[in-house]
C-alpha cells in the first residue's frame, strides 16, 4: 500500500492509467500492470480489453512491441526503472549462477562478479547495440554451460531445502522435549498426590506410630521420583528422537560441499588393540579372586576384575610370536629388552 500512497503525494499522474485515463478517484479498485517487454504501465481493465483476444501491440504511442496478456504482472517497485533492473538481474542471475567454491582464488571470483556486473549494466543502461551484444553473450554463455548452470541451480535449491528441514527438525525436537517435560511433571505431581492420599488413609485407618508412617511415606515419594528419573534417563535414547544436527552455530562453519571421498570419522584413529593371539573371557574362576568378588568395599571403589584379566592375559602372552632372529637379522641391531623394573610401591604416596 505504502508505495502507492507515497506515489500519490509525489505525482498524481501515477494514479491515472495512461491509456484510458481512468483515475483512482473514479475507480477505487484500479490495478496497474506492466509487461517486462516494454515496462509501460496500464490498468488491468485496459489489459483485459486489449489483450484478451490475443497478442497485440503496445497501445503506448511509438512503442509498438507485441505483448501478450500472460506477460503482465503488477509492479513491485513504484520506480519502473528499478523494476526493470531487478528483472534483468534475476534473469542474468539464473544463468551466471556460479558459486565461490568453484573458484580457485577469491580474485578469480571477484573478476567473475565484475564481468557479470558489466553485463548487467549493459543490459540495463546500454545503448541498443550494447544491449544486443550483451544478450548475445548471455545466450552464448547459457548454451555453453547448460549442465553446470543446472547443477548450481539444483545445489542452491538443495541448500535452501536443507536449511528449511533443519529448522523444522529442531523445532520439532524442542517441542517433543517440552511435551515430555510437561508430561513427566504431571505424572510426578499425580504420584506425589497419590502417595499423600495413601499416607493419610493409613494414618486414619491404622493405629501405627504416625511419625513412622509419615517418614516412610516421604521415603516412598523420594524413591518414586528418583525411579522415574532413571526411567526417563534410560528411555531417552539418543537415536529415538529426531536427528538434531548441528544445533550449535557459534562460528561461521564452512559448508561441507564435497561429501564424496571423506571417510567416516574413526574414533579409534585406525588403531585396533583387540588381542589377536588369544580370546579374552569376561569371567575367570580363581579362588584367590573370590575375595574381591564378594567385598563390597572393593567393588564400590570401582576395582575392575576385567581390567585385571586383560592385563594378566596380556602379560602371559607377551613375547609369544616375537622372533628375535627376524628383528636382529636384517638390522644387525642388538636386541635390548627393557627389563621390568621392580614395581615401585605406590602406597607411600
Amino acid at each position: 500500500m505504502s508505495p502507492k500512497s507515497i506515489a500519490l503525494v509525489d505525482n498524481p499522474m501515477d494514479d491515472m492509467c495512461p491509456i484510458c485515463k481512468s483515475t483512482r478517484y473514479l475507480n477505487k479498485g484500479i490495478k496497474f500492470l506492466i509487461n517486462p517487454e516494454c515496462y509501460h504501465r496500464m490498468c488491468s481493465t485496459c489489459v483485459d480489453r486489449i489483450f484478451t483476444a490475443g497478442p497485440a501491440s503496445c497501445p503506448v504511442p511509438l512503442c509498438g512491441k507485441t505483448l501478450r496478456k500472460r506477460g503482465f504482472k503488477p509492479a513491485f517497485f513504484a520506480d519502473l526503472g528499478i523494476e526493470r533492473e531487478v528483472d534483468i538481474r534475476k534473469r542474468v542471475g539464473q544463468v551466471f549462477n556460479r558459486r565461490q567454491e568453484e573458484f580457485e582464488t577469491l580474485l578469480d571470483y571477484n573478476d567473475y562478479l565484475q564481468d557479470t556486473e558489466d553485463l548487467i549494466f549493459d543490459l540495463v543502461n546500454g545503448m541498443a547495440k550494447e544491449k544486443l551484444q550483451a544478450e548475445e553473450k548471455l545466450k552464448a554463455y547459457r548454451a555453453m554451460n547448460l549442465q553446470e548452470i543446472e547443477d548450481n541451480k539444483r545445489a542452491g535449491l538443495e541448500e535452501a531445502d536443507y536449511e528449511r528441514r533443519k529448522e523444522t527438525a529442531e523445532k520439532e525436537a524442542a517441542r517433543q522435549r517440552r511435551l515430555k517435560l510437561i508430561r513427566e511433571q504431571e505424572e510426578g505431581k499425580m504420584d506425589v498426590e497419590k502417595s499423600r492420599r495413601d499416607m493419610l488413609e493409613r494414618l486414619a485407618n491404622t493405629d501405627e506410630d504416625p511419625t513412622a508412617i509419615t517418614r516412610q511415606a516421604q521415603k516412598v515419594i523420594l524413591k518414586k521420583s528418583s525411579a522415574r528419573r532413571n526411567l526417563t534417563d534410560s528411555s531417552s535414547d539418543p537415536n529415538g528422537g529426531l536427528p538434531l544436527d548441528s544445533s550449535l552455530s557459534i562460528r561461521g562453519l564452512k559448508k561441507k560441499v564435497a561429501p564424496i571421498a571423506e571417510e567416516a570419522y574413526d574414533p579409534f584413529g585406525g588403531i585396533n588393540l583387540t588381542p589377536t593371539r588369544y580370546v579374552l573371557n569376561d569371567e575367570y574362576e580363581n579362588e584367590w579372586l573370590n575375595g574381591i568378588k564378594t567385598d563390597t568395599r572393593i567393588l564400590a571403589g570401582g576395582y575392575s576384575l576385567p581390567e585385571y584379566y586383560a592385563r594378566t592375559m596380556f602379560e602371559a602372552f607377551s613375547g609369544l610370536g616375537v622372533f628375535i632372529n627376524d628383528e636382529v637379522g636384517p638390522k644387525a641391531k642388538p636386541e635390548v629388552r627393557i627389563k621390568k623394573e621392580v614395581e615401585i610401591d605406590d602406597d607411600v604416596f
Partner: protein
C-alpha cells in the same frame, strides 16, 4: 611391552632416530647388554659413554621456565637446529635424595612405553653431570586446552571442534587403558596442543599401571576439580573409571568454558559434586557407604536428570549430552569405559569433528610450554585456585 604381540603395527620400525635413541637410553639406564660393536671391558664405562653420546645429540638452549619439580629448556637436535625439542630437567628434590623422584620414574616408565599420536612422545633420556635426569620431549608450541577454554573473548569454538578435541583425548585415554596405564591427572592444562593442532596428553607424573587384586593404591591423585567421587571417598582400589570421570569433566568444561565442579577442598568438592551431579547414595551406588571417607552433606539431592544436562550442555546435541551423562555416572562400575566412549554414537553423528588444521588455536608461546611441563603433577595453578602452595618462578626467562 615394547616387544609384545599387541604393539601397534609400525611401532617397531617407527622413525629412525627416535626409536633408536629410546632403546639406547634404556640400555644405559637398565644395565642392558652392552652394544655388540663396543668391546665390553667395563659395563659402567660403556653406560657412561652411551649417556654422553645421547647427551651430545641434543643442544640445550635457553631456559623456558622453572617449576618446583623441573626446569624446562628449549633445545634442538645437534644435527638439525630446526628440529626443536623441550628438555625437561628434573630437579633433585630434598625428600628424595636417594635415587630418583617418583614422579620422574613414573613419567619415564610410562612415556617410554606408550607411543600414540595423542600422547606426548619421549624422544630420549640422559643424565647430566650432576646426576639430574633430563627428559627430551616433543616440543608442543601451541599451548594447552586450558588456555583455549579460558580465553572466552579471543577463542570461539563449536560442537565440531569440541568433538575433535574430545576424540583425541578419548583416544589417548583409551590407549593408556588398553596398555594398562592409569593416567590419574587428566585436566585441560595437561592437554597440550601440537603445531598441527593435535592434542597430546602429557604429564605422566602421577600415572601407574593397573593394580593387582588386593593391592592398595593411593586415593589422593587427580587434581581435585577432576577427581571422581570414589577417590574423594578414599577408595584404595579403583580402575580406569577414574580417568573417564576426569575426561567427562573436561568435556563439560569445554562446553561451559569454566570448570564444572570447582571445590576449594575435598569436603567442598564433595558438596559441589552432590549439587552438580547428585548425591551418591546406596541406591544409586550400592556399597558406597562402605568406602572409608564416605560423608555427604545432609539433605541428599537427587541425581540430575537429562533436562539439567540438556539445558547446560545442550550445545553438543542430544548424543553429546548422553555421552557426558554416561561419563559422569557416579558408580564407577556403571560408568562408561574408555573403549565404550569411543564406541558411542556421538562420534558418527553430525556435525563431523573438525579437521586438525581447522581447529581454533591461539599462539601458546614458549613460556606456556615450560609452565605446563614444569608444573607439579596433581596441582592447579595458584592463580586458578587460591589454595595451592607451589608457585612457578619465571625469573630465568627474559
Amino acid at each position: 611391552m615394547a616387544v609384545s604381540p599387541l604393539v601397534l603395527p609400525g611401532a617397531a620400525e617407527k622413525g629412525g632416530p627416535t626409536a633408536k635413541s629410546k632403546l639406547q637410553s634404556a640400555a644405559a639406564s637398565s644395565n642392558g647388554t652392552p652394544n655388540a660393536a663396543q668391546s665390553s671391558t667395563e659395563v659402567n664405562d660403556v653406560a657412561e659413554q652411551m649417556n654422553e653420546d645421547e647427551k651430545a645429540k641434543y643442544v640445550k638452549g635457553k631456559k623456558l621456565g622453572e617449576g618446583t619439580y623441573a626446569n624446562v629448556y628449549l633445545g634442538h637436535i645437534s644435527s638439525s637446529p630446526s628440529s626443536l625439542v623441550a628438555i625437561k630437567k628434573i630437579k633433585v628434590q630434598q625428600q628424595y635424595t636417594e635415587g630418583m623422584a617418583p614422579d620422574a620414574i613414573r613419567e619415564l616408565k610410562f612415556l617410554q612405553e606408550l607411543s600414540h599420536p595423542n600422547i606426548i612422545s619421549l624422544i630420549s633420556v640422559f643424565s647430566s653431570k650432576d646426576q639430574n635426569i633430563n627428559l627430551v620431549l616433543e616440543f608442543l608450541p601451541m599451548g594447552d586446552l586450558e588456555m583455549l577454554i579460558k580465553d572466552t573473548s579471543g577463542v570461539r569454538y563449536g560442537m565440531a571442534d569440541i568433538k575433535a578435541w574430545m576424540g583425541m583425548l578419548s583416544r589417548a585415554v583409551w590407549f593408556c587403558h588398553e596398555n594398562f596405564v592409569l593416567h590419574r591427572d587428566i585436566k585441560p592444562n595437561n592437554l597440550l596442543i601440537a603445531a598441527d593442532g593435535e592434542v597430546k596428553l602429557a604429564d605422566f607424573g602421577l600415572a601407574r599401571s593397573f593394580s593387582d587384586p588386593y593391592r592398595l593404591m593411593t586415593s589422593t591423585v587427580i587434581t581435585i576439580w577432576y577427581r571422581p567421587p570414589e577417590l574423594l571417598f578414599g577408595a584404595r582400589q579403583y580402575s580406569g573409571a577414574v580417568d573417564v570421570w576426569s575426561v567427562g569433566l573436561v568435556f563439560a568444561e569445554l562446553v561451559i568454558r569454566v570448570p564444572y565442579l570447582q571445590g576449594i577442598n575435598e569436603v567442598d568438592q564433595i558438596a559441589k559434586l552432590c549439587m552438580g551431579v547428585g548425591t551418591p547414595t546406596e541406591e544409586n551406588w550400592p556399597g558406597v557407604s562402605k568406602l572409608p571417607d564416605y560423608t555427604v552433606p545432609a539433605p541428599p539431592s537427587p541425581v540430575m536428570g537429562i533436562d539439567h544436562y540438556l539445558s547446560m550442555f545442550g550445545t553438543v546435541g542430544q548424543e553429546g549430552v548422553d555421552l557426558l551423562m554416561k561419563m559422569l555416572i557416579m558408580d564407577p562400575r556403571r560408568r562408561i569405559t574408555a573403549r565404550q566412549v569411543l564406541e558411542h554414537g556421538w562420534w558418527s553423528s553430525d556435525p563431523r569433528a573438525t579437521k586438525n588444521e581447522d581447529l581454533p588455536k591461539k599462539g601458546g608461546g614458549e613460556s606456556k610450554v615450560a609452565e605446563d611441563l614444569g608444573r607439579r603433577p596433581g596441582m592447579v595453578d595458584d592463580e586458578r585456585a587460591g589454595k595451592v602452595a607451589r608457585k612457578l618462578d619465571f625469573g630465568g626467562m627474559r
